[in-house]
Amino acid sequence: MDQVEKILETRELNVNMGPQHPATHGVLRLVLDLDGEVVVNVTPYIGYLHRGIEKLGESLSYFQALPLTDRMDYVSAMSNNIGYVVAVEKLFGIEAPERAKFIRTMVGEMSRISNHLLWLATHALDIGAMTVFLYCFREREWILELFEKICGARLTVTYPRIGGVRNDVSQEFLDSLYKFTEEFPSRILEYETLIDQNRIWLKRTVGIGVISAEEAVSWGLTGPTLRGSGVPYDVRKHAPYDAYDRVEFDVPVGSEGDTYDRYRCRMLEMRQSNNIIRQCIEKLPAGPIMAEAPKLVLPPKDKMMAVTHPDQKHAFFIDEKVCKGCGMCLRACPAKAIFGEKKKPHKIKQEFCLGCMNCYVTCKFKALKIIPGGRGLGDEQLAELAKQPIPEEITKATELLAEHFAYVKRGPRVPEGDLYVATEVPKGELGFYFVSDGSGKPYRMRVRAPSFVHAQVLPRLCIGHLVADVIANIGTIDIVLGECDR
């Protein structure tokens, strides 16, 4: 009898889903224990995309760490950038000008729409509605093209800057964006005709992955994932940043806390974002786009580049009396145009010089003289020209350049202290916790990534449901593994 039981013994089927799997949205790995089609146990494994962004942040200056934030949630890179710069501005104690704030609100909402479109596309595809996927990508492509118009990049934008934004927006861009906002609501209706009242869609989403309000808060869920459960928590309302306190918008809140409510929340949120963009365009004030805060923000590039661009045909001349022969410029020169022995004045081979100014900025003794329009002249002529006083605009520009150099390389001087600043990215609450020790680099940079927090709720949502619901649940919590693993 025992033997028969041993032969007929049943056990759970252990299935390894991911890290390479079409429906795990990146490199999430789930180990499922299946009893037939029913999920008995789920163990998520993450970390396949861990790049150590928090550790890297400690070794980079505040400005240098900015592009790292694009690589966290690459689906809504703009929002991540904004989250970072808002936190750093608070740490520095500076305020971005009004125009920059409105622009940031605007592009942040564009990013929210593009994120939700990608979410809807993949979520619907996971559940089997293939057409929605392509419809969503059509509009997402539109937004990405608009991103390309303002900053030249589509995904990893790095458009906001500490204290403002990189470029001003043109009227042409605003016009095409306004056209988008006029068109977009009808496009949302198009997606909704396909799935909103579709019986199969309802069967697959209503009552799936239910989580109550108390539990959702306890799990630390944020964003639409939390609001689907009926908790009206939105950082844009609770602690407004940028221009969110000057635009009007509502926050969609669900009641059941199931996959369908979260889907509805995001659909309504897209409409709200669309409204916010329109308001931003209408209310966009004139003015500067970077804060006036010397040594805390990047110096204005146009003033600097006008004079110091390599095309300006400058020459450089080393004053032999001042040069101590420290060799700093020698190492800094990318063209190897500087030569000379240690502790003796160096010389420049003018024919190799690129005009990049690296040597000029590096020199601690100010031994290098800039000679406007001097490229291609002989040493003696240059020595002659070096005696003349340098125009003031050039000295100013070169000062700015040196400042720029120091700002990027060493970072600004920041007061000691620590702070946590949260922003509402499309996926939820993105928090940055900085500990500053007074140097130009953060002593500790902590990223509170919504995907990381949301991913841990998967076992809670999946256990007891069917395999197909696992896929629906991965979709509904809207995670991106780049952000989850950081």
Binding site: S59, V253, R264, R486
Partner: protein
């Protein structure tokens, strides 16, 4: 089924964080080491012993209701402060919109602190990450394993004595070495100098 876009009616902002700090001090006079302020954010540095009680109080007290654990992480103050580690709790009340930051001191020789998972289920992975990155053990945690790094990784990367560029070529993680040798074996032409 009923999702409505509605204008959030916010409760008036709750208690001033300074007051919260005072209340914690009142209630746990032995525990509070220091209260600091930076850019309107109040941090309460506490001893690690009664952290669970303090959190329980902040979570359950009807005037506090710190139901949202925004973030849990740690800071390594190697050579700058003693005790070496601080575990940071960023707490927020969704109802009252007030927040406070707790910092629990954890010494280097015995890096243990009680887990707050019984209070906030969401602390689970945060604590696992802390364990992974700093080597701080959370007692009472249901499933304390490494989370981002492989199970058999050596060292705790976010500690200040861990080099940014990694452990170096000699001490490379064995999994990576295996993958590398396999790749060289299968596609030798891609690895020729």
């Amino acid at each position: 089924m009923a999702v409505v876009a509605r204008r959030i009616s916010l409760y008036p902002a709750g208690i001033d964080p300074k007051e919260i700090a005072e209340k914690i001090k009142e209630r746990f006079p032995e525990e509070v080491v220091e209260v600091t302020e930076f850019r309107d954010q109040i941090s309460v540095i506490v001893k690690r012993g009664k952290i669970l009680h303090i959190c329980r109080y902040l979570h359950d007290d009807p005037y506090m209701l710190m139901d949202h654990l925004q973030d849990l992480s740690a800071v390594d103050w190697r050579g700058k402060k003693d005790p070496r580690f601080e575990v940071i709790y960023n707490l927020y009340s969704i109802r009252f919109r007030h927040k406070i930051r707790l910092k629990a001191q954890v010494p280097e020789d015995n890096p243990r602190i009680s887990s707050v998972v019984p209070i906030w289920a969401g602390a689970n992975w945060h604590e696992r990450e802390c364990f992974d990155m700093f080597g701080i053990t959370f007692t009472g945690h249901p499933d304390l394993r490494r989370i981002l790094l492989p199970e058999d990784w050596e060292g705790h990367p976010l500690r200040k004595d861990y080099p940014v560029e990694g452990p170096g070529p000699e001490k490379e993680w064995h999994g990576f070495v295996e993958v590398l040798s396999k790749a060289k074996e299968l596609k030798p032409f891609e690895w020729e100098e």
